[in-house]
Symmetry: C2
Subunit: 203 residues, 2 copies
DNA sequence: GTCTATAATATGATAGAC
DNA sequence: GTCTATCATATTATAGAC
């Protein structure tokens, strides 16, 4: 097997295991088992476990960037794009109920470990935050765009955490519905703001 | 030192360390260091690390129960009580920014570990959930009370996770303010419901 | 009730053969 | 590029002295 391919396989397996069992709880042995490789051989591809983590984060960043670009390509209406974000809670519901949000749970774990890669992992949040902000700017919420983006991120994290804790599908559907309703109201407000009166400042 | 006292000290230290660094990342050595005791002596008080976890969860459950009773004693108005819950995000803001929510982060970690004590840890969420539900019932939201309780829990988890990720005090204050405003609107709705028309069903 | 060994295991990481 | 040892360390847990 070529070096690049093996490396990609390792990153893939580590990505899944870090998500499912957490970074610290995932041992080299577990990754080796998943890719059917000897432990020793790992160090040909990565110099340490932290190195694998960095590779996993890079892969997630690239994948997320690509997904957000896809969303922009698929939907021209920024309101629809934002709804697409809200709906990942349903799209990934089963995994979220089992393992929580891959972004939130990794960030939380690395924060507790005071891990050097905390900032890189947080870059995943920043990617979503900036993308959502852009959509809200397009919707006319200039000053409040970033606050709205953070509000949506908080919503998704809260729902993911409780979905994982209570394994309650109805709860997830209800919250997604409520958020979509709220978004429609916000969009209507922005429209009025654009056409009629000045946009309110954030906070 | 008496057995009961030493045991309480161990639980205290473990409680803090589990919160600050996570359950798995906290070693016996770290707890021993904190309470100035030899590793070996631990097994006189607890038969395993999981046993300490159970003791920590029990302590947290008792402490939380007591706190909720205090809140009920201090405020007669259920709306004020609910606001008290929302305001823990400000009361514990510094710790939350550093380590996240003690309930949410433990539950998330134990879920990933598929740990036997996951259900017990989740009891902390259930405690808040039931208490909040009771307050909303008192406010006249009979059918929607549990949904509202879950909504508030999700809110607090989302804000805590992002506060931990972005260390943004203004974000926390803004979200707390928004939630309090939303609660006032909900309370007003319930009042109208009680005096004028039938309460809406959940969902 | 607390201590000092010490066992048993698992981990991240290295060396060197093929 | 992959393997089989092997190391050093850290972990949970036990045994037995005081």
């Amino acid at each position: 097997m070529s070096g690049a391919t093996t490396r990609a396989h390792i990153v893939d397996a580590a990505d899944q295991l870090f998500y499912q069992h957490g970074y610290e709880h995932t041992s080299f042995a577990a990754i080796a088992d998943a890719v059917q490789l000897s432990r020793g051989n790992f160090y040909y591809h990565f110099k340490s476990k932290d190195d694998i983590l960095d590779a996993v984060i890079s892969a997630r960043l690239a994948r997320t960037k690509h997904m957000l670009e896809q969303w922009e390509a698929e939907e021209v209406d920024p309101a629809c794009r934002v709804r697409k974000f809200v709906h990942i809670l349903l799209t990934n519901r089963v995994d979220i109920q089992s393992y929580g949000c891959p972004v939130g749970t990794l960030t939380t774990e690395l924060a507790k470990l005071r891990h050097a890669s905390f900032a890189e992992a947080n870059g995943l949040f920043t990617l979503f935050r900036a993308w959502l902000r852009d959509q809200f700017v397009l919707l006319g919420h200039d000053a409040a765009a970033d606050s709205l983006a953070m509000h949506l991120l908080a919503f998704s994290q809260g729902v993911a955490t409780l979905a994982n804790a209570f394994l309650d599908e109805e709860f997830v559907r209800r919250e997604v519905q409520q958020m979509c309703d709220w978004l429609s109201a916000q969009t209507a407000t922005a429209e009025r703001g654009v056409h009629g009166r000045h946009e309110q400042t954030s906070a």
